[in-house]
Structures are given as C-alpha cells and as structure tokens.
Amino acid sequence: MKNLEEEIISKNRVRNASSEPLIVINNLKKGFKNQSVLRDVSLKLFDGENLVVLGKSGTGKSVLIKCIVRLLVPESGTIEVFGRNMETLNRQELDEVRKKIGFLFQSGALYDSMTVKQNLEFPLRRIRKKMTDKEVNEKIGEVLENVGLLHALNKMPSQLSGGMRKRISLARTIIVDPLIMLYDEPTTGLDPATSDEISSLINDVQKKYKTSSIIITHDIQCARTTADRIIMLHEGEVFSEGKPEDFEKSTDPLIKSFFK
C-alpha cells in the first residue's frame, strides 16, 4: 500500500501542474452551545497563494482554521485537505496530513517548560525521525537564521518579547517544511513595526518554503502586505471574496470600514 505521506506529496506535485485547490471547504457549519459561529462557509486555497481571511472579532475566523486541522469538529459541511476528507481520517492518517500543515497560534503557544532549541526540536524529532543530531542542529540553525533569532537558541520562552515569541513560533512551524501554513492572527498584540516585520516574514516563508497559506487577521496592514486573495467573513458567512485591489476600490460600507 502506498505510504500516505508519499501520496500527499505526489498529489501536491500533480496539483502544482493543474492548479487544483489544496484545501476545499464546503458549507461549513460550527457553533458552541446555542451560539452559531460559522453558518455557511465555503472556500478554496490554491497552491502557492496567500489567502487572507478578514473579519471582525467573533466572526469565526479562528474557528475556521481550527476546523481545518480538526482541533474542532464541524457540525456539518466538508473539509478536504490534499484531496482527503478530514472527517473520514483515522488518527494515524490525520497525523500524516497534519505533518504537512503548519499552524501558527495567536499566542505563539511555545512550550513554557522547554528552551527555544527544545521547542524547535520537539516537532522535528517526531516528524523527521531519521534525522541525525547534526542534521537536527543544522536545521534549527537554518530556521532561526531565517527568522533572525539565532542568538535566542538557549533562551526560555519567558525571556522573549511578544515579537520574538511569534518569530520562534513561526520557526517551529516551518522547521518541518509544511506545504500549507495556517496563521491565526499573526500580528495581534504587536507594535506596528514588529507587525510589519512579521508580515514580511510571512511573505519570505511563502517564497522560500513554497507554502500556500491561510492568514486569519483583522489587521488591514498585514492583509495588504501578505494577501494574494482576500475572503471577508461576516456573521459566520463569506461576505465578499476577491483580489486586494477589488477590496480597496469597494464602496460597500462594511468593506470600507476595514480599508479606510
């Protein structure tokens, strides 16, 4: 039987040629208790693009990407990643798909009890089990250099600033060479200068690691810097979809409230 990981990679190569979507979401619904968060969301992520999902707080943006990696289970609708229906996968198959997806959490989610080096080693040693110590150290050095924090190797997360934590978290995500990146509010809580740095870093990651990304944000500057395509969510539904320039020109009051 063909290895699932090989299957994903080969499917992805096929897609590169035919430009089929990597993620397809159809009629997604998700709520909590009596509150409906996502009412009917459908979207596609194509190979090599940065898709920004914009929307006010509470419109279900974070819920959407957590459903993609099955941290949350949708009430109805389908999610296909690399052509595989996420609902039907068993634990092992789900892990194989997750190995190809990088998830940058809003809070960074660095492991408090581990140093920066141990944080980076954690996913690498589990996903790339055959790597030698030398290769692991080289890979850690490479990703830390890419995020400009080589000097933070032996620091604890508590010794890092908000921006540094985001960068290390990004390094931990890209260290396993994911095909898809999911960014959950990457610039929230950062000053404008650091936000710009993180936005540029997202573009650098896309170019260097050839990733396709979904970026959840309400930071319009981040959206302008990173977006190839934008989807706006409003009250749990897709309100508008298009190129960044279409949004800039829009006369719709809701869109204008973002793109002032």
């Binding site: 957590k66 941290l71 194989e96 997750r98 959490f105 809070s107 989610a109 009890s113 996913p123 589990r126």
Partner: protein, 279 residues
C-alpha cells in the same frame, strides 16, 4: 455528538404530565446531571490512560523527566516532614508509655505507626498538595495558552505525552517517597528517643524492626501505589479538562488538591478495611 439539555427534558416531561416543578428542582436536576457527567468523563479519562499506556510509542524520555520532577524534587520536603513526624510522634507517645512502664516499646510503636499509616498518608497528602496542584496548574495553563493544541497539530499525541507520563511517574514515585518518609521518620524517632534517654542506633533499629512484619510493609506499599495513581489521575484530569480562561487554571489547581486529598483519605479508609479483613 448531540447532547440533550436535562432541564429541557424535565420541563417537557412536567408539561406533558401537568406537574408543577419549582426552579429549585431544576437546579437539583442540573447539579445531578453535572455530577454524573463529571463521573462519566473521568471514567472515560481513566479508560483512555489505560489504553494509551499499553499502546505503541511510549514517551520514555518525558516519563523519566516527570519521575525526576515528581520524585527527586519532592524529596527534601518529604525528608524534612518525615523526620519531624518521627520526632513529634516519639515525644508525644513517650509520656503514655512511661506511665505503663513500657518505654522500651517506643521504637516499635513509632515504627508500626509510621510504616502502616502515618508515612503513606502524610506523604500522599503532601504530594496531593505539591504534585496535584502542579499538574492541575501546568496542564491548565498549557490548555489556556494553546500549547496542548500546538502538540496536537504537530502530530504528537498530547494525552500520551502529558497525561500518561505524569500518571505513571506519580504511581511509581509515590511508594519510593513513602519509603524515604518512613526512613527519615525512623531517624527522627531515634533522635526523639535520645532527647530524654540514651538508646544507641543499633538497639533502636533492632527494637523498631523487631516489631515489624511483612504484613506491615506490603499493604502500605500497595496503598502508596494507589495514592500515586489517584493523585496523578485527578491532577491531570483537572488540568487537561480546564476551561479556556485564566481563571480556569486557578480552579483546576485548587480542585486538583481538594479532590485528590479527599480521595487519599477515602482510599486509605478502604485500604484499612481490606487489610483488616485479611489479617
């Protein structure tokens, strides 16, 4: 999975049967349902621990780290407490034994009390406070700061990495800590005996161990294993199932200590009954 609201069910039943039900009754129904839910969830949690323990890819490195955290780092506290227990127990018991002219029985009496009951229970209560609260707070804060989710998406089983290792480490380390507490308790007792008397160490040891039998050690050891498991399970359950707000971390830590301490006492009572039946 669809979860039905118990209040709605009771209300519809009452309407169908034309029964008047007060708000107080609804509150009771809700409370009972919550209690049963917690009990059910905890049973599933324990079943998952057993299942994951015997599945492949055991996190041995993390298990050793937890043994170090739980065992080695609790040792100073356990040693000091054990020694003080021994001294206090000896000083308190001496006048009563002097009155009956049985002061020579003092080392044996203290040894039996320490090894059978006081050593395991006091060590378990201290560990419930130190380890239980630590597990509740650490796992609770990992949940709040999305660290558990981060493990999940990086294709690691967080339950196996965080919960199974902690529960097994607590199960293994508690009996060892109890043995240390007993040993330091006996040293304390020897010091206590020598405050008002003059007994050399060899004589003290021969008197203390002369009163002890295998049946004094074995049930205490088994009891300590169960204490460790209970503290590990309760601490991990409270932390792992904590809510999303920062307030939940405090609640998880607090309830882990309260429930595991209570469980230690309950388990002790059951263990004493079983041992009594066997003797």
């Amino acid at each position: 999975m669809k979860v039905s609201d118990p209040i709605k069910k009771v209300k519809s039943f009452a309407t169908d049967q034309s029964i008047k039900i007060t708000e107080n009754t609804y509150a009771r129904v809700y409370k009972t349902n919550s209690f049963l839910s917690v009990l059910g969830n905890m049973s599933l949690f324990v079943a998952r621990i057993i299942r994951e323990t015997f599945s492949v890819h055991f996190e041995f490195k993390e298990f050793l780290r937890q043994c170090f955290q739980i065992g080695y780092k609790s040792l100073p506290l356990i040693a000091i407490t054990g020694a003080i227990m021994g001294i206090v127990l000896t000083i308190q018991s001496r006048p009563a034994l002097v009155e009956f002219g049985a002061v020579t029985l003092l080392p044996g009496m203290v040894a039996v009390s320490l090894i059978r009951e006081i050593g395991p229970v006091v060590t378990a209560l201290i560990c419930a406070g130190k380890i239980g609260s630590g597990m509740g707070a650490e796992l609770g804060s990992m949940k709040v700061s999305e660290q558990i989710d981060a493990m999940e998406v990086s294709a690691t089983n967080p339950f196996k990495f965080l919960v199974v290792t902690r529960v097994l480490a607590a199960t293994l380390m508690l009996p060892i800590l109890v043995l240390f507490a007993d040993a330091f308790g006996l040293v304390g007792s020897w010091a206590g005996v020598n405050i008002k008397g003059n007994v050399n160490l060899v004589l003290f040891v021969s008197q203390a161990f002369g009163s002890l039998d295998f049946i004094d050690f074995f049930p205490a050891l088994i009891k300590s294993v169960v204490f460790g498991t209970v503290i590990g399970i309760v601490g991990c359950y409270k932390g792992y199932t904590a809510g999303r707000g920062t307030e939940s971390v405090g609640i998880a830590a607090n309830s882990a200590v309260v429930i595991s301490s209570l469980m230690v006492i309950v388990v002790d009572m059951i263990a004493v009954q079983i041992t009594d039946m066997m003797l």
